[in-house]
């Protein structure tokens, strides 16, 4: 399943307060999406697509993204930024693509993924008798 098609949804409406000005915000999701895309190109990971999204309704943990793929659990992950996390996001997406069901063993999860999971949603094919760790 290494070559499975994966989508990384990136919220481009997440607002991050600008320090020193409580009424002003920046929206760094676009920069994060571009950073992930650049790294995917460098890695030749053409089966992983970055798709910008208007609001994943998380808002309190910018930036937020989601990993999704056919017959896999979808993972929503927050607290990410372009400078610190683009490389880990690409590594996570590649590991996610290689799983059968989207569940990456805990020990193989980058730190930003371990700390940042906000929710996960099972695939349509899921039934609870499956082993899900």
């Amino acid at each position: 399943m290494t070559g499975a098609r994966i989508t990384i949804f990136v919220c481009v409406t997440c607002r991050v307060p600008i320090e020193g000005d409580e009424n002003d915000f920046e929206t760094p999701g676009g920069e994060l999406a571009a950073a992930i895309e650049a790294r995917l190109r460098d890695a030749g990971a053409s089966s992983i697509e970055v798709r910008p999204v208007e609001c994943l309704s998380v808002c309190k943990r910018p930036c937020t993204i989601a990993f999704a793929g056919q017959d896999k659990w979808t993972y929503v992950v927050g607290g990410l930024d372009a400078k610190s996390h683009a490389a880990e996001i690409v590594a996570t997406a590649q590991r996610f693509a290689a799983t059968e069901d989207g569940i990456i063993p805990w020990k193989e999860r980058p730190l930003s993924f371990r700390k940042g999971v906000i929710a996960r949603i099972p695939p349509e094919t899921y039934r609870m008798t499956e082993k899900t760790e």
Copy 2:
């Protein structure tokens, strides 16, 4: 689209602390799933399926559920219990089924849905140029 097939995933591993005993928990997700199923049967809503899930990775906002359907946004909603919210959950699922894309207008959202959304994930068909409100 009123008759669209909808899945309500219900986390049955969400733990709720038992008052007066900080080391003990109950797991009321199973009760919530049963309460929703009973109301769906009463409503004759056979196209809406309740599916128990081992952990939606929300944990801090028990109980947690997700509304999902073909070509629709998936919504993860927390802070729910069988006694207070089963009726609103069924109403939300029916309204969700009737939408084209899973987006229920704000004014038509029950209070538990307005307050409880933890995340939403776009369908595979989503592209950002779409109107998403």
